[in-house]
Each structure stands twice: as C-alpha cells, then as structure tokens.
C-alpha cells in the first residue's frame, strides 16, 4: 500500500464516481463535499487506516482515486493547504461576471 510521505495532518479526498464532484472522507467512511467536515489524522497508523478505508470494497462504486492530502486544523474545521487542493475544495477561482 502506498505509504503516506506527507507527514503532517492528513485527510482523504476523492471525486464522486457519479458526478465527479470533489469529496472528502469522514472517519466512518462516509463522504462529504464540505472539506471542513473531513476527518483528519496525523498518527501514521491512523492515516493508513483512513486511506485503506477509502480504498476498500464499497468505495469502488462511490468514488474515484482516493488520495491523502495535507490539511490544517482550523477553528472552522479541516482546511486544505496546497493551492490545488484549495481550488478543488472551493471551486474555480475564475470570475464570471465581467
């Protein structure tokens, strides 16, 4: 299994199989589109458990390509760190009203 190389606090993200929408995993293996509600872990064993759960059987028909991302714990909940993940979580930064 792909060991996490990230180190810090981590959460699992994927795309919803049906809609393609960005989703994040909760500790019980359910998925949410709100990154703040994702469950994160730092302990390597716990991180491994999260990603194993994300890749386990029933998720194969729910999500595509689950991966670990670095996150920070903020007052409002979990927040992604890298720009790519921020954009995935919040949607395109393009402005449409000109």
């Amino acid at each position: 299994m792909a060991k996490s190389r990230l180190g810090g606090l981590q959460a699992v993200t994927a795309n919803d199989l049906r809609s393609g929408a960005v989703v994040f995993m909760r500790r019980d293996g359910s998925w949410t589109d709100d990154v703040r509600l994702a469950d994160a872990a730092q302990d390597p064993v716990e991180v491994e458990r999260l990603i194993e759960l994300a890749r386990s059987g029933r998720n194969a028909t729910l999500v595509v390509d689950p991966v670990l991302i670095e996150v920070a714990a903020e007052a409002t909940g979990v927040a992604p760190i890298r720009l790519r993940e921020k954009i995935r979580a919040a949607g395109p930064t393009v402005t449409f009203d000109s």
Binding site: R84, R88, T93
Partner: protein
C-alpha cells in the same frame, strides 16, 4: 481505392450504446476504475479537478447552426450553461455527470457529432484554417483534404495505439492561420506552375515540454498521393517512435534524433511500397468530397457597400469593430467576421448557451449557416455580406459578443489551468482575466496593435505559450504559482519558439511584468506600424530583459 463512406452514424450510435453499457457496469461495480478509465477516455470523457469533462470533436472547426444549437442545449441541460472552446478547435464541457454522459453522446450523434479521437494515442481531430473557403488570400480550400484525412484517420486500425498522440493541421493559404509548423504533420495545399494541387508537408512540429518547429519533408507532394504519404509517415513513426519514455514519444523527437534526411529516406521507402495502390486518391473521389464544401450561393455584389461605409463613418464603435474583427473575403461584397470570445475580464474561450444560440441564429440568417471555431478560442462567421455587417454587429453587441479586440493584447489564449485541469501547476484563466482588465482601454489596445499573449498552466502547453508573441507558462515553485515569460514566439508561416526572458514572476507581479514589456515595445518601435513581433525580431530579447530586470 480508399472508400469514403458518408459519416457513419450507425457506427457512432453503436459506440454510444456500447458506452452506455460500460457506464452502467462501472456504476454497478462490474468494471473497476482501472478497467473503465481507458474506455471513458476513448469517448472523450476526462476526470478533471471538480468534475468530469467531455471534449467534443469539431472536425476542422466547422459547425452548422444546428450543431451549435445542440452544443448550447447540452451546456444548458447538462452543464452550467456554458461551454469552453479550446485551442484545438474543440469544445469542452466542464461539469458533466458520468451517468448523463451516454445521453449527451446520443444527443451529439443526432447532429453528426461525437467525442471519438479526442483523447488517447491516436490521430486526433484534424484542424484547419478557420477562414477556409472564405479568406481572400486562400489558394486552395483545405477542408476537403482535412475531411479526407479525417475519414482516413478515423479509427484507423493500424494507428489507434501510436507511441503518442498525433496531430495534423491543414492550410491552403500562404499566410498560415492553422499553425501547421507546430503540428506532428502540417500540410500546406498550393498550386504548382501548371496549376495542379501540391502539398508542402511539414513533419515533427510540436509544443509541450520540448517545443520544436516542424521540418519540411516534401514540397511537391501530388494531391493523389496525400494519404499514401501520410500513411508512410505514420507507419515509420509507429515503428520507430519511442515507446519507452512518454516525453520522448512524439514524432518531433524521432525527427530530432534521427535527422530529417534519414527519416525522409525511411518514409520514401515505405511510400514506395504503398503508393499507387489502395490509398491513391483519384480525382473523381476528391471532386466528390469537394462537392460537400462547394461555396455557398454567394450573390454577385459590388466590392464596396454604401450601407457599410455609412456605418463606419457614423458609428465609431462599429468602426472599431470593423477595423479589428473583419478579414477580407475572397468574394466581392462579403466579409469574414471574428466573434471574440474574449470580452474584457472574462475567461477566454467560454460561451454561454444563450450566446451560442444567438450566434447560431445570426449564422443561419447572415452567414449561410456556417460557424467556425478558431484555435485562438474565438468563433467566426465566414461569409457575411458587407451590407449586413451593421445589423450583425448590433446583434452580436446585444449579447456581449462584439468586443473589438481580435488579434490585440486582450485577445488572449489561455488553457483551463489549475482552475479545472488535473495536470496544471498554476492558474491560467485568472491571469488572462487580470491582463485583460489592465489593458481594457480600447484605444490603448489599438495603439499597441497586434500582440498575441498565450498562457499555459503547465509545460504541456495547451495554451500555446511557446508560440505567443508573449508566452506565459505557469510553474509551481515550492507550492506557489510562478510565471515564466517567453518572448518572440509565433505560430504563423514565420514560426518561432519564444525565448525565455529570465526568472519567473509571482502571480502578483506577472501583470506588471507584461505591462512593462508592452511599455518597452512602445518605446522601441519605429512607428505604430511596427508590430511587437517585428520589434522583437529587430532588437532581440536584450532590451526587454534590461527593462524587466536591470531597472527593477
């Protein structure tokens, strides 16, 4: 003889049914993602950052009103009410649900469209001059040849698993609007002294990580041998192209490593074994295809129009549009209209459903039902009467489509970048939007004159930055967006790859840097007639470097 079947709708419908079954099996778990992914890609379905993206082929950029209305309908019904026209004359829908994909493909099939060969290591959608059949400088209409190549390459059994994707572009004008020298094969149709059709064949051009300008491998290829010769090139490439390293797999690397002469020898050898046989194109067959592209029933009109002249004199906004967005037509009394999909501050290449419908209506009424998609992410009405231009302009203006900036600093090409694309390192569209806003003033734009800015969000170069007069490449520097600037690139018959000007700029600095480059150009030019690219060719990169870095 090669068989030119009419568009094979039975086949496309079969493919739709097959894909419907595959999607159902993916959703119920019978197919794993690993099994399904190649199948969806074969049908133009990518998974991007936020959603599935569907890329629909628009062969050589030609659309009818009926087809454009269908694209509008799909955008409204299945997407977020807009579509994105790409640098390969295709359209992409950014927010599609997998379960609805088969229905969309069925809708497309109703108007003879599909998404086949928009992905994978095959011969991709053949592109052509977007002014084909209309431009005053055109020698030969390239569309019949593009269509012949499309039919030949569609699902060609031998060439569905090439070392890498393969792109062909065709022009029939000495002024190259199709960027043929940055394609795997670029074709220029022309006439010899006896008036016969001949092709100049360019091979091994491309952008991406290792940009290269194509080399001319033949200058005098007879029309009847077009397919046999292309087939010979593809066979040699299929055999000798590298499969060990995806970054070295394009034919440009083969041309580079092997040398043009050796490659040409191999191609000639292969060609000798197939010429004059099944791939030969008899004149009658070419004529049959040409008939599909017969000129519309143009009226016989005087070369000038009083209605048009009065509008230019009395309406400054129309005059600005006419100056910038019209191109000379080969038929007296007609003009080519470029519809800019680059309103100030908007994402380049996007069109809403309502805009697509408005354009379809205008084309039906005023442009013989034809619309073209340009690789510069604009649309074109190829055949509008001068007399009708004021009305057409007013209709375009009423739906936000009359921005008079074709070819100017705000007519920016930008790839989807990090806002959509899963391969991106940095954002492209917001940079384009900010540059556009900075240069919003239209008299300033027209003073600056022709200037092509092209932006890519990663080294794959979908935004054609290597051939921008000013190219911008987004890179990831320790988790931050940085932008590398190249200068002096050009995609036309004087094709050039831009030169890196120096260290990159942060997202905060990039727009100022572009403005500085433009200011330097304005200082250096001899007269307003000397374009940015002319000045660059005259003075080189140095003065730009000095003003960007030394005085900084």
């Amino acid at each position: 003889m090669y068989r030119y079947d009419e568009f094979d709708s039975a086949f496309v419908l079969e493919r739709v049914a097959e894909f419907r079954d595959q999607v159902a099996r993916r959703l119920n778990g019978e197919l794993t993602e690993d099994q399904f992914k190649p199948l969806r890609l074969m049908n133009g379905v990518y998974l991007q950052l936020h959603a599935y993206m569907l890329r629909v082929a628009i062969p050589y950029g030609v659309l009818s009103s009926r087809q454009l209305r269908k694209l509008a309908y799909i955008a409204r019904r299945y997407d977020r009410d807009y579509g994105h026209f790409t640098t390969r004359q295709n359209i992409q829908f950014n927010w599609i649900k997998l379960a609805e994909m088969p229905d969309i493909l069925a809708e497309l099939a109703e108007v003879e469209m599909h998404a086949i060969q928009t992905s994978g290591n095959c011969i991709r959608n053949v592109t052509a001059d977007h002014f084909a059949g209309a431009a005053a400088d055109e020698v030969i209409d390239p569309r019949p040849y593009a269509e012949i190549l499309r039919q030949w390459s569609s699902l060609h059994p031998e060439f569905t698993f090439l070392p890498r994707k393969f792109k062909i572009a065709v022009t029939g004008s000495p002024h190259d609007r199709a960027a043929i020298q940055v394609h795997d094969i670029g074709l220029e149709a022309k006439r010899d002294s006896a008036g016969r059709v001949r092709f100049a064949v360019w091979v091994g051009g491309g952008q991406g990580r290792t940009p290269m300008i194509a080399k001319k491998i033949r200058d005098d290829l007879p029309e009847s041998e077009l397919l046999a010769y292309c087939e010979a090139i593809l066979r040699v490439y299929n055999l000798e192209g590298r499969r060990d390293n995806k970054y070295k797999a394009r034919i440009k690397i083969l041309v580079h490593e092997k040398g043009l002469d050796d490659l040409a020898d191999d191609v000639e050898l292969e060609f000798a074994s197939i010429r004059g046989k099944s791939l030969d194109l008899p004149a009658a067959e070419i004529a049959k295809i040409e008939a599909y592209f017969a000129p519309p029933p143009f009226d016989e009109l005087p070369a000038s129009s009083a209605i048009y002249d009065v509008a230019v004199r009395t309406d400054p906004e129309f005059a600005a549009f006419a100056r910038q967005n019209l191109a000379p037509h080969k038929i007296n009394g007609y003009s080519i209209v470029t519809i800019s999909l680059k309103p100030i501050g908007a994402p380049p290449g996007d069109a809403t459903s309502a805009q697509m419908e408005a354009i379809a209506d205008i084309a039906a009424r005023y442009s013989f039902d034809e619309i073209r998609v340009t690789h510069e992410q604009n649309l074109v009405l190829p055949h509008v009467r001068l007399d009708d231009l004021p009305v057409v302009y007013a209709m375009l203006a009423s739906t936000g489509l009359a921005t008079p900036n074709a070819g100017l600093v705000t007519d920016i090409i930008a790839c989807p970048g990090l806002d959509y694309c899963s391969l991106a390192n940095a954002r492209s569209i917001p940079v384009a939007q900010r540059i556009s806003e900075r240069f919003a003033d239209s008299s300033r734009q027209s003073d600056i004159g022709e200037l092509k800015i092209k932006i890519s969000g990663c080294i794959n170069a979908c935004g054609h930055h290597h051939v921008g007069h000013i190219g911008i490449l987004g890179v990831d520097r320790k988790g931050e967006e940085f932008y590398q600037i190249t200068l002096g690139g050009s995609a036309d018959e004087n094709c050039a790859i831009g030169e890196i000007v120096g260290p990159g700029f942060s997202a905060d600095q990039i727009v100022d840097a572009i403005e500085q480059i433009v200011a330097t150009y304005l200082e250096l030019r001899d007269s307003p007639r000397e374009r940015f690219i002319d000045v660059y060719r005259r003075v080189g990169v140095k003065p730009f470097q000095e003003s960007l870095y030394v005085n900084a």
